[in-house]
C-alpha cells in the first residue's frame, strides 16, 4: 500500500514536471522542473531499494549537472531566446511520431505485463529484506565484472573535462 502511494506520488511529480520542463519559455524554469523530475526519479530509486543510486542521482545529477546547467543559463543571456518562437517547424510531425512510438511501446509493455511472470522470465521478486546492502552490492558489481567499463568511464570523464575546458576557453 505504502509502496503504491510512494510510487504514484513520485511518478506523478516526475511526469508532470517533465511536461512542464519541455513547455516552459524560460530556460531557468525548465531547469527547475527538470531538477524536480530528477529528484522524483531519485525517490523512485529509493522505493526500488537502490539507495546508492538514489544518492548518486542527487549528488551527481541534481547537485552537479543541474547546477552546471543553471550556471550556464545564467552566463548566456536567454532573455532574447525567451521572447522568440519556442518550437521548431517540425513540431507537429515530431509530436505525432513520438506519440505513435509511445503507443507502440506502451501497448507492448501493457500486453507483456499480462503474461505469466510479467513476460520477463521472472521467477519471483526478491524480498526487500533479503537484498544485500545496496552500496556494497553496487561496488561488488562495479569493481568486479565491470572494472574495465569503470575505468573507461573515468577516461570518458577525463576527456569530457578536457573538452569542456578547451571549449569554454576565451578564444576558440
Amino acid at each position: 500500500m505504502l509502496d503504491k502511494v510512494i510510487f504514484y506520488f513520485f511518478a506523478a511529480i516526475a511526469v508532470g514536471s517533465a511536461l512542464l520542463m519541455i513547455t516552459r519559455k524560460s530556460a531557468v524554469h525548465s531547469a527547475i522542473f527538470l531538477t524536480t523530475t530528477l529528484l522524483a526519479t531519485a525517490g523512485i530509486f529509493l522505493q526500488l531499494r537502490a539507495e546508492f543510486l538514489f544518492i548518486v542521482q542527487i549528488i551527481l545529477y541534481v547537485g552537479g549537472i543541474m547546477v552546471l546547467f543553471i550556471f550556464v543559463i545564467m552566463l548566456v543571456n536567454l532573455d532574447v531566446a525567451a521572447q522568440q518562437i519556442q518550437y521548431s517547424r517540425q513540431k507537429w510531425v515530431a509530436l505525432v511520431l513520438s506519440l505513435a512510438l509511445a503507443g507502440q511501446v506502451g501497448a507492448m509493455i501493457w500486453r507483456a505485463g499480462k503474461l505469466p511472470g510479467q513476460g520477463m522470465l521472472v521467477r519471483g521478486v526478491a524480498a526487500a529484506e533479503s537484498l544485500p546492502p545496496n552500496a556494497e552490492a553496487v561496488a561488488q558489481s562495479l569493481f568486479g565484472p565491470y572494472m574495465l567499463s569503470f575505468e573507461i568511464a573515468s577516461l570518458l570523464l577525463l576527456v569530457a573535462m578536457i573538452g569542456a575546458v578547451v571549449m569554454a576557453k576565451k578564444k576558440v
Binding site: V28, F52, G63, M66, V67, I70, F71, N134, A135
Partner: protein, 450 residues
Amino acid sequence: MMNHLYELLKIVLASPYTLPVIYGIVIVAVLPLVAGYVVLVERKVMADMQARLGPMRVGPHGLLQPIADAIKLLLKEDIIPEKADVWIFWLAPLISVTAGMLALAPVGIGPAFQIAKDIDVGILFIAGISSLGIFGIVLGGWASNSHYSLMGALRSAAQLVSYETAAGMALVSGLLLGGSLQIRALVEEQAKQGVWFVALAPIAFFIYLVASIAETNRAPFDLPEAESELVAGYMTEYSGFRWSLYFLAEYANMMVVGSVATTIFLGGWLRPFSSVGGAAGRAIDTVPGALLLGVAAYCLYRAPKQPVTVQKLVMVAVAGLCAVVAAALLAPVFVAQALWMMPAIHGAFWFLLKVGGYIYLFMWLRFTLPRYRFDQLMRLGWYFLIPVSIVNVMGIGIALVLHWERGMNLALALGLTTLMTLAVAAVLVRAELKREEQLRQAASGDAYAG
C-alpha cells in the same frame, strides 16, 4: 471509545515510523530556536573577542535577544523587487532551508536520537542533500534581478562546486578508515579501534574543516555574501522572513557540517577516552554533570546582580534548567536503575559539545581573519586543497593496504603516508609562494616602467 483510542495509540507506538516522525518534528521545531541561540552565542563570542559586551538589553545578558530578533524579522515588510521572477524568488529560500534541515535526518545525536537510523548511505546522504542548498542560493540570486545578487549567486555556485570536491575527498579518507557509509557503523568503528579518526587522518580533518567553512559561506570564505563588496550577495534583495530563512539555512548547514565532522573525525557521541572503563571512566562520566552544575551555580551567583526583578527570575530559571539537565546527566552515573539512560543522554551531550566546539572554531576564524579574494579562493581550492586531498586519500589507501595485507602497524603506516602528504603540501605551498613573488615583482616592475 477509550479502548479504541488506546488501541490506536498502541498501533501508532508500535509503528517503526512513529519515533522518527516525532524526532523529525522536534528537529524542525527546535532548529530555528537553536539557530537563534547560536547567533546569540556568536555575537557574545564576537563581543568577547572584540573587547565589548554584545547584546545585553533583552533579558539578562541578552538571553532573550534571539526571540526579539525573530519577532522583528517576522514583522518586517516582505519586499519583492520589481521585475523579479516572483515564484522563484519565493521558492529559493525554501529550497535552502529544506535542504539544510533534511540533511540533519541521518545525523545521530547520540546513539538513540537519530531520525533515519539504518540508512545505508548515511554520510553520502548528508553530503548530497546539503549540496542541494546551492540551488536556493543560485536561484535566489538570479531571481532578484540585481547585479549584486547575481554576482553573489555565481560566486556561490563556483565556490561550492570547487570545495565540494575537496570536502568529498576528505570524507572519503574518513570513510576508508571506518569502512562504512553508515553513521552508526562509523562511530562504532571508532569505539572499537579506541581512537578518533582525527588522530589517524589529521590532514583529512584539516581539509574538511577548511572546505566546510567554504561550503557554508562563512568567513574567511564568505564571498557570496561579502558585505563590503556585494552588499549582501545573493541575499541583497531579500528582507524579513525570507531573509531569515536564508539565515536559518546557513546555521543549519553549519550544524550539518559540524555533525559530519564530529561523526567521522571526532568520534561522534563517544566520550573522550571511550575505551577507559572502571573508576576512571566513572570519573569522566561525572564531568558533564559537574560542568552544568557549575554553570547553574554561576547563574545563581549572578542572579542577584541583575538590575530588574524579571531578569533575576530568568537567571534563576536558567540556573534551574541547567541543574535539571545536570541531574539527568548525573543520574545514570550514580543510580543503578537509571543506567539504561546513560548512552542516550551522555551520547547526546558529548555529540552536541563537539559540534559546538566545531562551530566555535568557525566563529573564531571569522573574527580573526580577513576575507579571501575570489581568485585566491579558487587557487586555494584547486591548487592546494584538491591535490592534497587526493594525495591524502591515496596515502590512506596505501596505509590500509599495508596494514591489512602486510600486517604493518596501522599507526606507523598512516604516519608515513601522512608525512608523504605533508611533503606534497609543502611542495605546493612553495610553488605558490614562488608564483606570488614573481607576480609581485612583475607588478612592481610594471609600475615603475609605466
